[in-house]
Symmetry: C2
Subunit: 318 residues, 2 copies
DNA sequence: ACCGGTTTTTGTCCAGGACAAAGCACCTCT
DNA sequence: AGAGGTGCTTTGTCCTGGACAAAAACCGGT
């Protein structure tokens, strides 16, 4: 009860791993190789990290996520780290990457303005309609929030608040759409190491108005269970979302694995920022690089099976 | 493409850890101590688990969750494991613990009946009203689903589906309630190791109709960030939810830690199945053992500050 | 029957080594 | 000059086998 702020708090290696997203192995090997972090030891000889080093590790994590390599940044002092993080912003200096509306919404991302944020989101939804709302409002907001978080302009709490509010709006809107039962039947989920579930809702919000039957299982579904669900479920498509934070290498690997588990008649659509077109394509897996691509995939699927959907094409010609 | 089913699939230790919830350390130490699992080795000498052993590990995990100890069950053959899992059911043989309505809902928990499930949930909500819906329908359903999952009656996908649907219903209902802005201001979240976010929504759904201003940050918020949010946020209460799956020991520990971080004027309300009244109370932390307790806490808070809420008491007498 | 102390069980952490996959620079061939 | 291969460096993950503390189970005494 003395002075909780003055005496710096200490964290176990497991706690640090949780808070930073770095594995315990990585933390130990960095210490060995780069001389940072330099945890103290408790009575039992176990690593104990002061809060300052944890913060520094978080900065490093941000730099890694934005493309740097560990040898460049681990072991840099706090000031040097800050200097590296700053120049990120002006790289797209001209007209702000997101529209003005987006910026105004970001400004509402403070805890005491949550109600206003909800109102603004709902208004945008009403004005634009669900699909355009997702593409024109939520998607750029997502990106902006992500970047702001990378820069440290936004607190964890505010990022969570944002996620919650958008989720509320999207879920309500999706619920409004009557379940059509028409084809294709799409199973939506993410792989187990995915952290963010928002992308899933965005896809669902895009597809449901088109009359597709989406069944969302939420995030973090083991591969084997996806396969089992598809076996007994009469699905045409499995849709997967990969956020930017997704461990890049594993994505393709797991997709290939899943492809092997599913019957070839079931398509796999995979999308999201975590799938930059780095690797070559996997046969039988459709990579969707932007939100609109989901609509395109849907259209093509229906064209290939003209007997399925109730309202396949709007115009006979185009 | 030969025969994907005949040749058993192989999993890396990391994959098994993800799928079973056991840590890699635990998997290795079990192998050393109990002689199970017995993974093969790949070209590089790394452990490689056949699918059969992974399934067996999942069974073991269930038994551990239901109270057994590793020495009893690790190393048991598949048949012995199944025998142990079976007798769980008839223990509450009489009138089914959950009402009939609950059982009917559980029966809808199949992937191809998701629409019916949603409809049934919504009907129940309309009939009972939000608060009673949470207490009388969702809470027993939660428990029933949890038990069914433990017994293996329910697939992972179905459990996720349930969570998604209930979330949809609750979020919509909560959104309907106009934000009152009146006291108390409650910050709702869970600690980082919490897996389930449903409890949070249930609390919110209970409190919002009473005119409390709830701000939910969703699950998995680091302690430090909770403290930072409260500092600048004008909150009266921090509400935390602990599911049954929460690592029991750490709960009290972390609550004490959080209590030290927050100003003493801010109350902490903690509830959920993860807090069996095992340990002694922490001063300044209110442990809420059942859902109704949240309402009670709210009432007492307002009684202690008669000037705050707009509609504190309904009747002057009782 | 309950309670305090002792023993067993069990998960986590440690050190330090090894290696493959990814990234990167350089070089060659068309 | 660009496409593509080759070799070096970086980096995260996995390995072994040991140690130990917290929790659970046990046990004997009142």
């Amino acid at each position: 009860m003395n002075s909780p702020t003055s005496q710096e708090r200490l964290f176990s290696i497991a706690a640090v791993a949780r808070d930073t997203g770095l594995s315990m192995d990585t933390l130990r090997v960095w210490e060995r190789r780069y001389g940072f972090p330099t945890p103290e030891r408790d009575v039992h000889g176990e690593r104990v990290y002061p809060a300052g080093q944890v913060d520094r590790l978080r900065l490093i994590r941000r730099l890694l996520d934005s493309g740097r390599r560990p040898s460049q940044v681990v072991g840099l002092g706090p000031d040097a780290l800050a200097a590296l993080l700053e120049p990120e912003a002006p790289r797209s200096q001209g007209p702000s990457p997101a529209g003005r509306a987006t910026e105004e919404l970001v400004a509402l991302l403070r805890l005491h303005r949550s109600a206003e944020l909800a109102t603004a989101l709902n208004q945008a939804l009403l004005k634009q309609g669900l699909q355009r709302f997702v593409v024109d409002a939520v998607a750029p907001l997502n990106q902006e929030v992500g970047e702001a978080w990378l820069r440290g302009d936004i607190q964890v709490t505010e990022e969570h608040l944002y996620t919650e509010q958008v989720q509320n709006v999207l879920r309500r809107a999706i619920g409004m759409q009557a379940a059509s039962g028409s084809r294709p039947h799409i199973l939506l989920t993410t792989l187990p190491e995915e952290q963010h579930g928002l992308g899933l809702l965005m896809v669902e919000a895009t597809l449901v108005p088109e009359g597709a039957s989406c069944l969302s299982l939420g995030p973090r579904m083991p591969l084997a269970d996806i396969a089992r669900a598809v076996e007994g479920g009469d699905f045409d498509v499995v849709g997967l979302s990969f956020s930017l934070a997704y461990p890049a290498r594993q994505a393709m690997e797991h997709l290939a694995e899943l492809r092997a588990l599913l019957p070839p008649t079931v398509e796999i659509w995979a999308g999201g920022g975590g799938l930059r077109a780095r690797s070559r394509a996997i046969p039988g897996v459709r990579i969707i690089t932007e939100l609109g691509g989901a609509l395109e995939a849907l259209r093509e699927w229906r064209q290939a099976r003209p007997d399925s959907g109730p309202r396949t094409a709007h115009l006979p010609g185009a």
